[in-house]
Structure formats: C-alpha cells, structure tokens
Point group: C2
Chain length 214, copies 2
C-alpha cells in the first residue's frame, strides 16, 4: 500500500485523530501476533466502522490488497509515516509545575516519539537543580540559545496562564515550529507555526453530551 497524501485536499482533523487511534489498535494486533487484518477487524477494535476507515485511508492513496486485507506491520509503518511519527521529535517543556511534572512522569509521549529534551522554568530554585530525570533544566532566558542547539521543533506550554503569551513569543523567536498550549490563554502564532490548544473541559463536554443523549 502506498500511503501518502494524494493531493492538497485538506485532511479533516478528525481523520488525523483517528489515524492515531488506528495506529494504537494496530500496535495491539501486533502484540497478539496478528499479521493481516481487515477494515472490519480494525473497526471493531477502534469502535468505528469499516467505511469510515476506508474513507480515512483514502486520503493517503491506495487501499489494502483486495481479498487479503492490510498487512498490520506495513499499515502501521504507513500510518506512522503519514503522521510524521516514524521519526523522533525533540520537544521543550516550558513550566516545571504540577502539569509539567505530570507530563514528565509518563512515558506515553516518549513511546510515541516525542522526546522532552529540555525543560524551561522561571523559578531560579528549580533551575538550580540543573536537571530533572536527566533532562536539563534551563532558565527562560536560555531558550534562544538552547532551542536551536538541541534541534527542538515543538514547545509544550505548561506555565501559569498569565505567562503563556510571553512564553509562546519566546518559543517562536527561538525557532520552534509547533506549540502545544495547555493553558486557557489565547495565543497567536505567526503563519508557519502550528498551534494546538489542549482543553480538558472539551473532553468533559463531550462526555456530558453523551450522558445527556443516552
């Protein structure tokens, strides 16, 4: 299967999110030793339907082999390549507070190829520690130097909301190309920089909606 973006058609964000889910399902299939799967197999595991899966894959080119299905390992490789996670991404975590430590405490980001290679913090007492879990800790002022030096492309903002805008500006100035913003602050980025806001309330609202419509 040739899994590449077939045209300049804008791929819906929901499709991208589902690709991430398919990838996780395929991981499970691999663990159980399954080598070939149908779109129905994937659909059952992911809680979606085969038509949706075929539609999502169609954005990237050809389908699996007719009458055979998808080779799990190949398909997973194709999805990872499409998502851009067939490589590892150096990330900077800005803010060593509760959320920052929660992110550092999980290996789920590293497992998916997102490596936190530097932490930036404004509290000088924390900065003096020098490192946390072998990840170097820097002051905010060192961003401009460290980000290009470490080849960091993604910045994760986990500071107090009132500092988020300033931090985002600094990250962009230092050469970051993508920002994941965990604060409720509205951040603006120049074109060429991608911003994603994480808002836990949105997940709870989705839950509330389903509870209301059962």
């Amino acid at each position: 299967m040739v899994f590449k973006k077939v045209s300049r058609i804008k791929i819906p964000e929901a499709t991208i999110r589902r690709l991430s889910l398919y990838d996780r399902c395929l991981e499970d299939f691999l663990k159980t030793g399954k080598k070939v799967v149908s779109s129905s197999d994937i659909a059952r595991k992911c809680g979606t339907n085969p038509a949706q899966i075929r539609k999502d894959f169609a954005y990237f080119g050809e389908f699996g082999v007719r009458g055979v299905g998808y080779y799990v390992e190949n398909l997973q490789g194709d999805i990872k390549r499409a998502l851009g996670i067939d490589r590892s991404w150096n990330c900077a975590l800005v803010g060593a507070g509760n959320l920052g430590f929660a992110l550092l405490g999980t290996d789920s980001l590293a497992k998916r190829g997102f490596k936190i290679s530097a932490i930036f913090e404004q509290d000088p007492i924390l900065v003096e520690m020098g490192s946390f879990q072998d990840i170097p800790l820097f002051s905010m002022e060192e961003m401009t130097r460290v980000i290009p030096d470490f080849g960091i492309k993604i910045g994760i903002i986990a500071v107090n909301p009132e500092n988020a805008v300033k931090v985002a500006l600094r990250l962009v100035d230092a050469g970051v190309k993508g920002i994941l913003n965990f604060t409720p602050s509205t951040i603006k980025v120049p074109s060429g920089v991608i911003l994603k806001n994480v808002d836990f309330a949105i997940d709870l609202e989705g839950l509330a909606f389903q509870l209301n419509n059962q």
Copy 2:
C-alpha cells in the same frame, strides 16, 4: 432557533468538539458586546468555514433567522443545552498526584460547569489532610458511600496507570455514569457508562502531522 437533536442520527464526535469551540467563540463575542453574528463571523473567529458551522448546527434543528443571523446569547444557550452544560456536573477526581493537582489548580473546568466535589486518594497521609482547596479528600474505600451521597456522575481518573482499571471498576460500582481517563491504561466499562480517554500524544501527533505537511 430550536436547537435540539432532530433525530437518532449519530452526531459525529468532531461536531461535538466544534460545538464546544463555537461556545467559546460566542463567549468572546458577548464580551465585546456583539449581539448578532453570522456564520461567517463565527467561522472567522473559530478558524473553520460557514458551511461547516451550518452543517454542525443542522444536526440540532433549525438555522438562525434568514438575513439576520444568530442572536449570540440565544445561540450560546442553545449550544450549552445541546452539550448538556446548561447545568453543573458533580465530578470526582481520583488521584491527588501531579496531574490531579494540575486539574485542581485551574478554574477552567469549574467555569464550564464541571465541579470537582470530592477527591479520592490512596495515600493515607494525603487523605488525613481531610480536604484540599475546600474539596473533601477521601480514601478509595469511601467511594461507594460518597459518590451517591454527593450526586457525582463523572469520575476523572488521574492515578498511576497500574491502578486505573481497579479505580474504574470502583467508580462504576459506586454509580458513576461517565469516566474521563487520563492514564494510558485500557479501561472497559459496561454499557450505559461512557468512557473518554485523554491522550496528550494524540495532540502532539496532530501537530507532527501538520508540521510534516506544511
């Protein structure tokens, strides 16, 4: 505008997520004193397009007033009702670790109607504190009594991954109807209980995809 679910058609999750975003945009319009908006106004603010907005709204019934647009306050009320956030939801936070404290440290959940009314924790030293920010802290064993007593319908799991499955079982036994799972553990819930998994890596993967396809 009559904003109600018009049929038993399954509404896409992406539509629900966008409703949450529209609601936030309308909030901004209200703050600036704007009373009537067009779908183009909303689209510009939310970074989507008017056709998408009309399509999303169509799941819930009639459009705005032709030639006039949408009355911001009414539309926001309708969206909140559709999402089930025209009321407040009592939630239980399970796990007073870094992530738990990060959630407690933000008012963005409370602002959207999700009130953390009890915290459950397994560390007896923390439980002995009795409360945190005026929210009562209980041992895991007290879940069965406290959850119905407090009218809690939603459980937020922020414990160590290895305890997530056990916690989910306990929450469901105690009468919780919706679970937001922040751990990477795979949780299964009986029918009638809604589960949503939060996975920060999915947001990073969306970012990586866009960085790769600029």
